[in-house]
């Protein structure tokens, strides 16, 4: 075996090595710092990530090389997601700082785990071999299992952690079983080899299809697609808020980065066999997610179901993948980017609100627009964008996705997706109505009697007065501004991003030149 070939381009993995080093450094510095200086760790992590982002862009720009005999590939697709995940890590850490200081112990390990999960996501987007992808997926999942149950003294967090671990182990087992069936029938695990085998799979055994189906089910669990979604609301509700945000954005983006490459590079030749299955899952997922979201009272549960609906939209893009058109692949990636900005805007707003009040029921947000107009406006923008109104990110990204679906002859799916966007507009409006029209619980005296039916009586001792004394920290406000700007940027002028996406798509779908 020519070992020299394996290590000749090892420098391309420098960002990954340095990211692991950074995580270890955070663990180590944590030991040296006194308890009241732990915030420094967040700054170390953020500074390190910014440096890594610059390094990755400078080092890997335009690279298109396989490493370790095709196990992983450093191409523009990997670079796009690497930059995206690093940025995401930065924003999640920034929006966690206040929350962690107030509500969580072990801050050093918290930031270290975020760094490890970013590393795992990078490998997921880069791997072109199914076991490597699986192992990276496990690294990400393990980090999330721990972060979800990070609030040790909160029974809900513990419950969420246990549920997530059990479902995660269960779905990993299904995924592994599918991989082993795939391997036992065709004897290869590299995406390129799988694709070559499927291309002339006229005589393939049924075990191969069972294997593919099991892989689909396993990934369905990981992204919480219906009917494999039942864990998501409980886990989202129980996890600490920044972790919920990270879970809703990061784990989904990474799982879809993996899925997109897997389906585009490995399963593409047999698209006629799985397209309709993925399309049906997408249809069920967005419909169930959006319909059940209407009934939610807790903001985290609402966003859990709304994110299930978003997974449905992303699956529309997977179903509409095509060897000759970059539209669906671009749409999936653009939706991931837009959805992340948007969802983070909403979540960061909720984090800021929770930091001030410690509440997370939808009714608690009543009158927020009077007390914190910017917070309410940012969250409203995020929700409009999630619903897909024009000028916001959600419109542009959904436009790409639905066009792709329509082009591939999945007109019914595109229509259903539009109906679902309308449904989602309703429950976002409910939340926005609470923030803007419903009076705050403690302001009932000042406002017209129409508010008499407000289900939330003013708290004894004036909890809201306490809330008005505090205002969101400048840090949270800064992150929020960035997210809102990002939402508008993707919505109004997405072309620079689309250019990057074209390059990324041509890396995984060489035939789909734009």
């Amino acid at each position: 075996m020519p070992e020299t070939n394996l290590t000749s381009n090892l420098h391309l993995l420098l960002p990954e090595f340095l990211l692991a080093t950074l995580a270890f450094a955070v663990f180590a510095i944590d030991l040296l710092l006194p308890a009241n200086r732990k915030k420094l760790l967040a700054w170390v992590s953020v500074a390190g990530l910014i440096g890594l982002l610059a390094l990755a862009l400078a080092l890997l720009w335009g690279e298109n090389e396989e490493m370790y005999g095709g196990l992983i590939k450093v191409d523009s697709y990997a670079l796009f997601f690497k930059s995206f995940f690093i940025l995401l890590g930065i924003f999640i850490i920034l929006s966690s700082v206040d929350y962690v200081g107030k509500h969580l112990s072990h801050p050093g390990e918290y930031y270290g785990l975020i760094l490890f999960s970013v590393l795992a996501m990078n490998v997921m987007a880069a791997s072109r071999e199914i076991l490597t992808a699986y192992v990276a997926l496990e690294l990400m999942s393990f980090s999330f299992y721990i972060m979800v149950s990070y609030a040790r003294y909160n029974p809900r967090s513990n419950e969420a952690g246990i549920k997530y671990v059990l479902i995660g182990a269960f779905s990993s087992a299904i995924l592994l079983f599918g991989i082993s069936m795939l391997y036992s029938t065709i004897g290869v695990t590299h995406f390129a080899d799988i694709s070559a085998t499927l291309a002339n799979a006229g005589d393939a055994s049924p075990a191969l299809w069972v294997g593919l189906a099991l892989i689909l089910v396993g990934l369905g669990f990981k992204v919480a697609a219906v009917p494999f979604h039942m864990w998501a609301p409980d886990v989202y509700q129980g996890a600490p808020l920044p972790v919920t945000a990270y879970l809703a954005v990061g784990s989904k983006a990474a799982a879809f980065a993996l899925m997109l490459r897997l389906f585009a590079e490995a399963f593409m030749p047999s698209i006629d066999d799985w397209q309709i299955i993925v399309a049906i899952i997408a249809a069920i997922t967005m419909t169930v997610g959006n319909l059940v979201a209407i009934a939610q009272h807790n903001i985290k549960r609402l966003l859990a179901y709304s994110s299930i609906g978003q997974v449905g939209f992303l699956l529309v893009g997977i179903a509409a993948l095509s060897e000759t058109s970059p539209l669906a692949s671009n749409g999936v990636m653009l939706h991931i980017v837009g959805y992340s900005f948007t969802n983070l805007a909403v979540f960061v707003g909720i984090i800021a609100f929770f930091n001030m009040t410690g509440k997370e029921e939808i009714a608690d947000f009543s009158g927020l627009a009077d007390r914190h107009p910017f917070l309410a406006a940012a969250m409203a923008i995020g929700m409009f964008s999630l619903a897909g109104l024009p000028f916001f990110a959600g419109f542009t990204t959904k436009f790409y996705l639905f066009t792709a679906a329509a082009n591939e002859g999945l007109l019914w799916l595109a229509g259903l997706a539009i109906v679902n966007s309308l449904i989602s507009l309703y429950y976002y409006q409910v939340e926005i109505r609470h923030m803007y029209i419903q009076p705050a619980p403690d302001m009932e005296g000042k406002l017209e009697p129409a508010s008499a039916h407000n289900p939330h009586p003013p708290p004894v001792g004036g909890g809201a007065e306490d809330a008005s004394r505090h205002s969101p920290t400048p840090l949270i406000i800064g992150v929020l501004i960035l997210m809102v700007l990002g939402t508008f940027f993707v919505g109004v002028y997405p072309f620079p991003i689309v250019e990057a996406l074209d390059a990324a798509t041509s890396a995984i779908l060489p035939g789909a030149g734009s």
């Binding site: 075996m1 070992e3 394996l6 993995l13 692991a20 663990f27 308890a35 490493m67 370790y68 005999g69 196990l71 992983i72 112990s105 072990h106 390990e109 270290g112 785990l113 490890f116 590393l119 795992a120 490998v123 791997s127 071999e129 076991l131 490597t132 192992v135 990276a136 496990e138 690294l139 393990f142 980090s143 299992y145 721990i146 149950s149 990070y150 040790r152 003294y153 952690g161």
Partner: protein, 162 residues
Amino acid sequence: MSEPLFVIVAILTLGGGLGVVATRNVVHAALFLLLSLVSVAGIYLLVFAEFLALVQVLIYGGAIIIVLIFAIMLTRSQEYPRISDNPQWPLAIVAGLAVFGVLAASFLWNLPPASEPEGPGLAKIGESLFTKWAVPFEVVSLVLLVALVGAIIIAGRAGDRE
């Protein structure tokens, strides 16, 4: 194959198996089972099936026995040292003999040809693990690290808070 070594290992295997059924203490039974399974790994080693021996120790000696002991500790914390006489022992004898019969029959029916032991040697496995499969190998080590960190955070002693 060195005959004396095989005899020793075989006695250990069978002795462990006998211990499992003879002892009245569940924990002892689990430990006897461990002895028996690890001895089987020894037999694999004697025929130079290194990879098989490794997997035998990892899976049976490690994972399965640990799960077994966990199950014992979690379910019968009060009365676990005692096994009451299980009325199903005649059924167990029949099942055991049946499995033995099937295995022995299939072995005698289709006697495997005497052959040189072969298979992926440990050296080869190690080489490919550290060259071709280095990336997933490293990632797995991080998975273990993260799991350890999590165990300390979640199950460790109460921290400086509350």
